[in-house]
Amino acid sequence: MRIACGITLSLLTLAASGLAFAREDRTFDKTVAAQPRGVVDISDVAGSIEVSGWDRQEVSVHAELGDEVERVDVSSEGGRTTVKVVLPSHTHGHGEAELHVQVPKGSEIDVSAVSADIRVSGVLGVERLNAVSGDVTAELGDADVEAKTVSGDLRLKGHGSAARLHASSVSGDVHLEHGAGDFEGSTVSGELVVSLDSARSIRARSTSGDLRLEAKLAHGATVEATSVSGDVNVRAAAADGGFSYEVSTFSGDITDCFDIKPEHAGRYMPGSTLQGTRGEGAGHVRLKTMSGDVQLCDRS
């Protein structure tokens, strides 16, 4: 009896240590040297990707791997570091990996995912972020950003540094806070909500999604927003130089906070327009819809 208990205990201990070993084996850690302004490519199918900038000249990867993940490849050569989660060919892209990648903060990053969510913080270089159904959340640095999803949402947060920002989604929502510089955004059926601390140019477009833009316009800035059936709401404050505006809609309503009534195309023709100038008229605001309502105001 004592021997049986001993054998059982030993087997249990062996099994437990084996399980622990197996679990430990499903994490991955690797650090490689990298250039302070190099390029880092990261790809993961499912799970999550978290990228953060740090002061070291290294790329550090920590990953927790799902059962269906085969391995993680990390390589660095000629200023380009690649981090790739590799799945066996039979998995059809279901293997999940939670990736945590630290990169030199001046790096240019190129991140691709299918259903994995992407989160980026503390990176000052150019960011190119692509996901299919995953959400993208990113802090903007001082450089240009291009973020794109098919059905995932985009949430971008800047610090008021001027850059070229390009955000597009097919059906996801696009949110930008404290952006600055030039913004170009589009969505088909999602909502686009954008706020810029200092805008040189804004181009926003949707098919059926609503557009809400709030911006302090730099001198001579341009704002163009068009939608087919979505509503367009623009609050544009020009600190210097004012702006001219031209609003037109085929069957929507136009409202403004200037106490100016829109002109109708004619008694028997649909369509109305609103035109005028605020201040010196240095900037230009053009808003167009087919059936969406339009609101324009120069104060928040």
Binding site: V150, S171, T207, F250, K288
Partner: protein, 203 residues
């Protein structure tokens, strides 16, 4: 009734007595030349058999000609499609046989498709993207697939609404611009879906 006189005041009794040419009393060319120099732009027009006075001629804006051309093509396509239903829908029809539910309704061609975007390269590219779309959609995660189909349906509805509005107001520049934007959005969606499901793209 008095008898006609020739240029010199003499009575004329037969046609043969009328001179075949009459020299003007002074040289007219210096005045004509001066007038021509005053309005050089008018010179080529005045040489034509049906010359139009300069003050009646106005430059026609190029968009008017383009709009007229688009409108006439649109009417032609409309009539053609109404009389011959099913013609020109081969690509979409083929794709729909293996497509996810809702695919055909979301991507079927609208009335003005061919009229507004007549560039053959565009048509070829769009047809190729539509052919491969069912397979591309199948490669997407199911929730993403459903959302993409919903977006394509939104684009199709937008095109239908714009075409319907253009039917009431064919020369409306706003509607034409929005329709062109919508075609561009459709291509962007098709391209994004292709890229998202492309193997070996680092995903």
């Amino acid at each position: 009734m008095t008898a006609p006189h020739d240029g010199n005041g003499r009575k004329v009794s037969s046609l043969a007595e009328i001179p075949t040419s009459i020299e003007p009393g002074r040289d007219l060319w210096p005045n004509i030349e001066a007038r021509l120099k005053e309005s050089p732009a008018a010179a080529p027009v005045t040489t034509g058999a049906h010359a139009i006075p300069a003050h009646l001629r106005r430059a026609r804006p190029p968009w008017l000609a383009a709009a007229a051309m688009v409108a006439s093509v649109a009417v032609g396509v409309w009539i053609g499609r109404s009389l011959l239903p099913g013609v020109g829908r081969g690509v979409e029809g083929t794709a729909a046989t293996t497509a996810p539910s809702g695919f055909a309704a979301a991507t079927d061609a609208t009335v003005l498709d061919a009229a507004y975007v007549s560039d053959p390269r565009y048509q070829r590219q769009r047809a190729a993207l539509l052919r491969s779309l069912p397979a591309r959609l199948a490669a997407l995660p199911p929730p993403a697939r459903a959302k993409v189909l919903a977006s394509l349906a939104a684009i199709r509805k937008a095109k239908e609404d714009l075409e319907s509005a253009l039917g009431k107001d064919p020369s409306n520049a706003l509607l034409q611009e929005l329709l062109v934007d919508t075609y561009q959005d459709e291509m962007r969606v098709l391209t994004d879906v292709r890229e998202a499901s492309e193997p070996g793209r680092g995903i």
